[in-house]
Symmetry: C2
Subunit: 339 residues, 2 copies
DNA sequence: TTGTACGCGTTATCAG
DNA sequence: CTGATAACGCGTACAA
């Protein structure tokens, strides 16, 4: 590795002590302006940069925070990360990014990695497999604050950043009801995720409010990915149990369902209307464009990072969680043609 | 911040020297098995973790590499990053990720940030604005190896990972020609990027090989994003200068063009066929599904990281660049209906 | 205003 | 086999 100029280098060429150099570069008041100027010039000449390891060893801070996301392929997390980066860059922190690949085991491995790198705090969106609650708690107890976002722990008490899934699912369902759809189904997300539960709850409450019949066929499980939505929809088609409209757990699921609909020679929204959730750019590009809930991804990242930095400070405020508002983009896929 | 157990802590509780503890934990041969066992048990009891800052300060290595990508929103770079992560994790390195947001100025700022964090090497895909060639060269000269991937510097001599854009553009164009399309246009990418030039060159050579007429209208510039493709296509439509088929610089551009085609009441591929490049998942989900070149994103990341680690070693091999193979997925958007 | 001396947690060297 | 000591680069009491 390259050798960098050190305080000592500057000190010897200038025939002064390293202490003075250190003070000069820290722009202290108790140092002769003349020498200060000299030091700064020499530092520039030698292209001096403080050695971050030495500094961190000295003040016992890594100025690093860790991030664990389930995956990287959909646009959702990359956008969140952009928001995180912005906030922590401004605060002079670094970010160590890891991916759990939706596996609890890899998630725990990542947490250990971050821990042994002495991150000062952790941002995490948990896997759909389940929750490493004991480990989260141990980290918090040992002094490493955690902020959950999007997919949060249901048991651990810590700051959380979410959107109001319940409310938006409720609205999305009412939107279908007001549009005159009679038989409305729901494709549920991974049953262990709290977001799945919240969206289902919103759906069911909207259905109940409007006195819609709910049977065991109303809800089927479809997971997070497109393929699962495709299979779930196929099953409905082969069972000849077609609803007028479906509120889907997320966009990939809805797009998978859409593919199944098309392949069966059916039409959306004519035969089956669809509503998705967690918009990506894809939603507006398919045919028909997909009605979907758009989450403020960048803002989620910013907010989570801010909450974490708060906790890292010496006098952390009490935990507070933030619920951000999302919006519904109504497009062709939920239009009622028959009406 | 949390206080961690140190070598000293273990040493004092065991009444031995820190040196012995250090040796024991490093699993050296020259240490009594009995004491070794004692030390390891005590280390586990106190949940000892080596302080990475101290180690790095000591061996003068950060074990960190830096990454600069233009953006994060398309699926392309996140997938590449997954490949990078895999390789450098296995090598025990860390990754510092930065985004240039397609700005040369931010790119340079990022490089400085990475430099002052003493990264041992840098992976970069440059902005579409242009190249900070002098700065890349200075970094390399000062001992920080750089590996370019995807969007590479045309001037700086360093390892590069690319796909054979020329060849694939040539094939894609021939595919349109063999399919019987007569009037074929090209939507060009950012003129400063070498990938744009290569893809254009491949397009033009294929056209020449088959003796197709090339006028000043054959090529129009469309940039990287969907919006630009949309506008470029609109212009062609209003000028009433419709080709049979268009080879587009990338998928977003093609999807933008597709939107313009639909809005004008035209049909793809009936009126205008399209071919994209750099597949994302979107390509197969739109209507009609888009014929597109699929790049091995994960492998690009892996390869770039490997090349960089090679350079970081004490005896770096001579620079070598790698050209990976991509494949063409033929779908409905380039079918010739009229034929 | 400046210099001396020490500590942060490790590892390496040398002596015992 | 083990211990004392120095060194990595920086910041900071304390002394001058």
């Amino acid at each position: 590795m390259k050798r960098y100029a050190t305080l000592k280098d500057i000190a010897t060429t200038l025939n002064i002590s390293t202490a003075t150099v250190s003070r000069a570069l820290a722009n202290r008041l108790d140092v002769n302006p003349a020498t200060k100027k000299l030091v700064c010039e020499e530092a520039k000449r030698q292209n001096y940069r403080p050695n971050p390891m030495a500094t961190r060893l000295q003040n016992k801070r890594t100025k690093t925070i860790g991030l664990v996301v389930p995956e990287f392929k959909s646009a959702f997390f990359p956008n969140v990360i952009s928001g995180i980066q912005k906030v922590i860059d401004e605060a002079g922190f670094h970010l160590l990014i890891t991916q759990s690949q939706e596996s609890m085991e890899i998630e725990e491995k990542n947490l250990k990695l971050l821990e042994s790198n002495m991150v000062e705090g952790i941002l995490i969106s948990i896997t759909r497999e389940g929750e490493n609650d004991d480990y989260y708690q141990r980290l918090i107890d040992s002094g490493i604050p955690i902020v959950f976002f999007n997919r949060v722990s249901s048991k651990v008490n810590a700051p959380k950043v979410i959107i109001d899934d319940y409310k938006l699912a409720f609205f999305a369902t009412e939107h279908l009801i007001y549009n005159g759809f009679k038989k409305i189904y729901h494709l549920e997300g991974p049953v262990k995720l709290s977001v799945s539960k919240e969206r289902k709850r919103g759906f069911l409450d909207a259905m109940k409010k409007h006195h819609r019949e709910i049977t065991e066929k109303t809800i089927s499980t479809a997971g997070v990915f497109s393929e699962k939505g495709y299979l779930a929809m196929q099953k409905l088609i082969t069972k000849n149990d077609l609803p007028d409209a479906i509120f889907c757990f997320n966009d990939p699921t809805a797009l998978g369902a859409l593919r199944a609909i098309k392949e069966a020679g059916l039409k959306c929204p004519d035969d089956v209307a669809l509503v998705g959730f967690s918009e990506t750019e894809i939603a507006q590009l398919v045919e028909p464009p997909l009605t979907s809930i758009e989450q403020p991804t960048f803002e989620i990242g910013e907010t989570a990072a801010k909450l974490l930095l708060e906790q890292i400070n010496e006098n952390p405020p009490p935990y507070r969680s933030v619920s951000l508002t999302a919006k519904m983009n109504i497009r062709k896929s939920s239009m009622n043609i028959k009406k």
